[in-house]
Point group: C2
Chain length 195, copies 2
C-alpha cells in the first residue's frame, strides 16, 4: 500500500456518493443478491429504499449506474486487497496476503460475491466496464502467476469459483462465519500448494 490517500479514497470512485444515493445502493444490493440484477426492478428498489421510482431516477440516471455503484461496494474491498498483495515482493507472500482477504470478503458478504461472479448482468458488466475488468485482470494475474504456459489456470479458476460460490452453497448456508472462514482459507491454501 503505497498510496498516501486516506482510507476512504478508492481509485474506483473518487467522488463519493451522497447519503440518499447510499440508501438506494443498500436497498439495491439486498435485492440484487436475492433476485438477481435482471429480476430486480426499479420499483422494487424504490419500495425497499422507502422512496418513489422518480426519486431513484433523481439519484441515478439509469439502472446500470445503480448496478455499477452496487458492484463497487465489494470491488473497492477487492481493490484494497490487491493493492496490499501487490506490495509484496514475491508471489508466495502476495498470496499469503491476498487469500485471507479474499476469503474474508466472500464470507462477510456471501451472496454479493457470488452474484459478482455469476449473475449474467454482472458478468457482462465486469467484462466490459474497464475499471472492473482491470481489477479482475490483476486478481487473475496474482492467482495464476507470471508464467502463462504452466497450467495453473484451472486451479486458479476453481479456487476463484470455490471462494465465490461455496459461501452461498446450500450445504453451507447455515454454517457460522468463523467456521466457514477457517475451512475456506485452509482449502484455498491447499489449492495453491501453500503451507
Amino acid at each position: 500500500m503505497t498510496s498516501a490517500e486516506p482510507l476512504a479514497a478508492s481509485r474506483l470512485r473518487p467522488v463519493p456518493y451522497s447519503a440518499a444515493q447510499k440508501r438506494v445502493i443498500t436497498a439495491a444490493l439486498e435485492l440484487f443478491t436475492t433476485h438477481g440484477v435482471g429480476g430486480t426492478s426499479l420499483q422494487m428498489i424504490a419500495d425497499a429504499a422507502g422512496i418513489t421510482k422518480a426519486s431513484v431516477y433523481y439519484q441515478f440516471r439509469t439502472k446500470e449506474e445503480i448496478v455499477i455503484a452496487a458492484a463497487e461496494v465489494d470491488l473497492a474491498r477487492l481493490e484494497q486487497a490487491l493493492d496490499a498483495a501487490e506490495a509484496e515482493h514475491d508471489r508466495q507472500h502476495a498470496l499469503e496476503v491476498l487469500l485471507p482477504r479474499l476469503v474474508d470478503l466472500a464470507v462477510d458478504n456471501r451472496r454479493m460475491v457470488s452474484m459478482l461472479q455469476n449473475d449474467p448482468v454482472m458478468v457482462r458488466l465486469v467484462a466490459e466496464y474497464e475499471p472492473f475488468r482491470e481489477l479482475m485482470d490483476r486478481l487473475h494475474h496474482l492467482l495464476v502467476g507470471d508464467d502463462p504456459r504452466t497450467d495453473q489456470r484451472v486451479p486458479a479458476a476453481a479456487l476463484s469459483a470455490a471462494i465465490g460460490s461455496a459461501a452461498t452453497h446450500p450445504l453451507v448456508v447455515d454454517l457460522d462465519d468463523d467456521t466457514l472462514r477457517a475451512s475456506l482459507l485452509d482449502l484455498a491454501r491447499r489449492f495453491l500448494h501453500l503451507p
Copy 2:
C-alpha cells in the same frame, strides 16, 4: 443401475417431449445460458426457434414449464450419474464413479451447469420443485458422506461450486475440453482425498 427401463426413460419425465417442443427447449437453453432465465423473454425464445410467441405458448403453458424442461436436459444426466454411483457398495467407490461423470457433465455443458447452480430463478426452482430438490439432496449426500457431524461440508460445497463454475470462468473459457476435464477431475480427487 438396477432399472430395467430403456436408456431414454428418466424418472424426471416419463412422457417425452415432441419435436416441436424440443426445438423450443434447445433455443431456450442457449438463451438462458447467456442472458440468464430472467433476462430471456418468450419473444427471444420464439425468435430463436423461428416461430411466434403464440406458438411457444402452444408448446408450453407457461415460461416456468420451459425453464423446467430446460433444466431437465442436464438433470437427467445427473440422475443417471447418481443412479450409477449409488449402486456402488461404499462411498469411496461411489465417488470414483460419480466424480468423472460430474466433471464430464460440467465440461460438456459448461454454461448450463453453472446456470443451474447460480441463476437466481434456477436456484429457486431447484430448491422448491420437488423432483429437482431430491436430485440435489442425493448429490449432496454422496459428496458429504453419511456422518453429518464431520465437517466435510465446506469441501463438498467448494467442490460442487468449483466443478459447476470453474468451467465457465474467464481464465478457462478458451481451454479445450480434454485439458479442462483432466485438470478438474484431478482437482476433484485431491479435494476429497481420493487416489
